[in-house]
Amino acid sequence: MAGNLLKQRRINALSEAFAILVITAILIVVNLIVVRHDFQKDLTSNKRFTLADQTHQLLKNLNEPIMGYSFFRETDEDYATVKDLLKQYRTASRKFEFRFVDLDREPMLAKKYDVTSYQTIVLEQNNRFRKVVEPTEHALTNTLVRLTRGDVQKNIYFTRGNGELDPDSVENNGLGFLKMSLNDVNYNTQSLNLLTVKKVPDDCDVLAVVGPLTDPTTEVKEMILQYVNDGGRLFIALEPGSGNSFRELLENFSINASNNIVIDPNGFKNIFQPIVEIFPPHVITDNFDFGLVFRVASTISTSSRQIPGWISSNLCMTGSETWIETNLDAIEKKEIVFDPELHQKSSVAIAAAAQSIPSSDEPDAEIGRVVAIGDADFTGNIFFQTFAAHEPFIMNVFHWLSDEKDLIAIPPKAHFSQPLLLQDTQLLVGFVVPIVIIPLIIALFGTVRIIVRRRKS
């Protein structure tokens, strides 16, 4: 009898253990299936945990596997951010894999990729590798593009000789940060004085004229015109009050560049800092949903007098409250007043793009492109660094000019700034309600309820 009881208990114990194993196995399998086919929804307003469509497209089109080596320790500040980002890339494509590497435990791997310190990411494909300059989606995706495309390098020449901004300068009004951003995505940048050459170099993919203070010689102007008409690519940023000769040059490409100043009553810090939030359709500004801030800008727009063989379009426009001041003396004397007889409020363009149309005689002719912006400070170091949307905008300009349509300038996630500047009374509410009132209500409610129940019983 006792033996039978013991036997029965053993059978019961075994069957329970088996049931636990089976249920555990089922639940594990369910989790594995879901992880393999995971789906996520980003509920934040600016979708800050979602990869850009361009990144998704790039990852979807990967032909060969990519391995990411992340030299980050768990104690590093960006570890969690990098892990989240790399996980998103892995979720987006099965051809993307990553792992974290401890420099101290795997020194040979670190040596192979020339990594000497933590907080570095290396991407490898088919024995070619590249380091990622910073742990952001923008940098990671652009590195992926460079890695998958091979080592094609394009050349950007910044003109000097007419007082242009200096690409080697990291002062406030230099172009050092723009140059660094271009170098980071493998553009080769050089300075060029057109007075010292007979023509624009053959290997010039983009000629950049940024903030000239004086007019070029006739020969230089002709050189640039010839270069663009032969299929060259020109980027030109002009400060109001200077570069009149360059403004005339732009007329050849159906772009009107007036010598005036855009006045924006709703400007960033003052009326001379117009904010641009309207982007007419163009490849450069696809998915662009951010404001740009200019500092003393003039209008640059598609010309009413279109040149045969050239088509232009506005790139960005101000709000409808802006108006144009043509009296630059009034600005000097700070006598800026809206006069309905002289001025008209409307949305105006501060940048324009133009492209040549091959004629029927020469359908295979090289296509020339021009982008002009009515403010050189816009590309300068201080504005480049201060406003997160400026860099992707300018980079997209250069990518379009150099036909690098795969190179993606991921627009930054829109900032959702929410500081709380609470006064004493508001802080008092923040103290009294959660710490005094709510707990007191619960305590009183409970006390009353129990007293009432006890009286009833």
């Binding site: 029965q8 208990r9 019961n12 114990a13 329970e16 049931a19 636990i20 249920i23 555990t24 639940l27 369910v30 989790n31 879901v34 992880v35 995971d38 789906f39 996520q40 929804k41 980003d42 509920l43 934040t44 307003s45 945990f49 768990e74 792992r99 974290f100 590497v101 401890d102 201060t386 406003f387 997160a388 900032h415 959702f416 700034s417 929410q418 500081p419 709380l420 500047l421 609470l422 508001q426 802080l427 509410v429 923040g430 103290f431 309600v433 959660p434 710490i435 709510i438 707990p439 619960i442 305590a443 409610f445 409970g446 006390t447 309820r449 129990i450 129940r453």
Partner: protein, 256 residues
């Protein structure tokens, strides 16, 4: 179903007619209220100090810089509180000898377990719901993102669901409520800390331990990301512990 609902009602009545739950709710809200206010002071000070720099203040966000760390602190409090709520679910019945009566026909083990689990979950959920006053206060002064707040509370619901299931399981193992609290608290800590214990940075062991960690699934939800795998994790682990509870009750029958 009728038996299930009668158990739910019975246990809810037991909770809400007991001074213990009100005392615990008061202490919980006091603690969370203190955390809310102290975080508010810090956030306000940071807001004032960086308000002169438009570039840095662009990145100050109520959801990621205020609510997310606040809710993470709430979660630590819940580690301790939920075992205290659930300790009496089966322990009390065992101690008073009413468990056998409860488990006789027409109430099945599953109905009893689910009924008690539901009552505990509803009790803790009600207390947690009162914390909605904190984001509500923020709406007086600013515009926090609403959708991530819903995601935060969904994450909290998942967490309390798992902790409640663990608490019910722990309670089923003993008639001593203190031991039940200790077992539940210990298991909660295991799930909290298991992701930190991997000896390596990569590989199957690391990934498995990370996946088992409740933090790995709770963090995305309090950021505003809802993942199918996180919801699945909370549901399956809750089911697992409720199933284990059933096995414990079954075994106590044939062990005598």
């Amino acid at each position: 179903m009728k038996a299930y609902w009668s158990i739910v009602r019975r246990d809810l009545k037991g909770y809400f007619l007991s001074p213990v739950v009100y005392a615990m709710a008061t202490v919980f809200l006091l603690l969370t209220g203190l955390l809310f206010f102290s975080n508010l002071i810090v956030y306000t000070e940071i807001s004032f100090s960086i308000s002169e720099n438009p570039y840095i203040s662009q990145s100050l966000n109520l959801t990621s810089d205020f609510l997310q760390p606040l809710i993470a602190q709430f979660a630590v409090i819940l580690l301790f509180f939920i075992p205290a709520i659930t300790m009496r679910t089966f322990s009390e019945e065992k101690r008073s000898g009413t468990l056998e009566l409860l488990l006789t026909y027409p109430v099945t083990n599953h109905q009893a377990i689910l009924g008690k689990f539901t009552a505990s979950l509803l009790t803790m959920g009600s207390i947690l719901l009162l914390t909605i006053i904190y984001p509500a206060i923020l709406f007086l002064w600013s515009s926090p993102e609403l959708a991530p707040i819903l995601s935060i509370y969904l994450g909290l619901l998942g967490m309390i669901s798992l902790f409640t299931a663990i608490g019910v399981f722990a309670s089923s193992m003993t008639e001593n409520q203190i031991i039940a609290v200790l077992i539940a608290f210990g298991l909660n800590l295991v799930f909290w800390m298991i992701g930190w214990t991997s000896p390596v940075n990569n590989g199957l062991l690391h990934d498995t331990l990370q996946y088992l960690s409740i933090i790995d699934h709770f963090e995305p939800m309090i950021k505003g990301i809802i993942k199918l795998s996180d919801i699945t994790y909370f549901i399956t682990t809750t089911i697992f512990f409720l199933f284990l509870t059933g096995q414990v009750l079954n075994s106590s029958k044939w062990r005598g």
